[in-house]
């Protein structure tokens, strides 16, 4: 490959465009998923609260038991947040791998084009 000059700036410019597209698509998906997860929990919580309120009104569960059940939703919201954080960490790693692949791919294509034109 003597005499072939690799244009680093072109590689970086094209890679930057592709990486920005990749990151934007990933971030948008996170936000949608988090919103959907929150809505699912709220729907479930409403159904349970209605059921538990009825049980409490009928004297079938105590105040302490009702409070314990309601607290489980406090825990669930925390877990949902942690799930998002966990998934984000996994996807950051995947995003990192995808970014590397973009860089390698762009570099190889540009080098191939340079060799072909040499």
């Amino acid at each position: 490959m003597t005499g072939v000059k690799i244009d680093i700036n072109s590689i970086l410019k094209e890679a930057r465009i592709q990486i920005n597209n990749l990151a934007s698509a990933t971030a948008s998906k996170y936000k949608d998923e988090a919103t959907a997860a929150g809505e699912r929990i709220l729907l479930s919580m409403r159904e349970d609260l209605e059921k538990w309120a009825q049980l409490y009104a009928e004297g079938r569960i105590t105040t302490e038991e009702l409070e314990l059940l309601v607290r489980s939703y406090q825990t669930e919201f925390a877990l949902a947040g942690l799930q998002m954080a966990g998934l984000a960490a996994i996807r950051v790693r995947e995003l990192g791998i995808n970014i590397l692949n973009v860089v390698i791919d762009v570099t190889l294509r540009l080098v191939a084009a340079l060799i072909a034109s040499a």
């Binding site: 538990w52 302490e64 925390a78 799930q83 954080a85 790693r93 995947e94 590397l100």
Partner: protein, 131 residues
């Protein structure tokens, strides 16, 4: 631009055990979930006759959290999930059982469902990890 390129390389080259699926951890997730449900079911009976189960459950959670901790900093979401469930089970649930001595059938049925739901988060996150 160099920083953008260095970050993913760094993430990949450093240890990421907590991002990788672990079969032993997942088995433990299911087992502790099932043990939790069994102990919740026990709360129909007098706490005083069953406090050994509360003690065992607490130890099981402590040990599970310790093992998850060994998977490194990338496992922090899972570790914190365990700590949250531990607070509800060994903090709230056991405290209420101890105070009331016996819990009602309807509340036990609801608590078991809630426990399964909470463990779903831990199990699903583990399933989402890189295999």
């Amino acid at each position: 631009m160099r920083n953008i390129l260095l970050l993913p390389i760094f993430l990949i080259l450093t240890g990421c055990a907590g991002l990788h699926y672990n079969e032993a951890s997942q088995q433990r997730n299911y087992q502790v979930r099932d043990i939790t449900i069994t102990v919740i079911d026990k709360s129909r009976e007098d706490y005083s006759q069953n406090k050994i189960f509360a003690s065992i459950l607490d130890s099981i959670y402590s040990y599970s959290i310790k093992l998850e901790g060994k998977r490194g900093k990338t496992n922090i979401p899972t570790i914190n999930m365990w700590k949250n469930v531990d607070a509800w089970v060994n903090g709230n649930f056991i405290t209420v059982w101890q105070k009331e001595n016996q819990l009602s059938d309807p509340s036990i049925d609801e608590m078991k469902k809630r426990a399964v739901r909470l463990f779903d988060y831990i199990i699903n996150l583990e399933n989402s990890k890189v295999k």
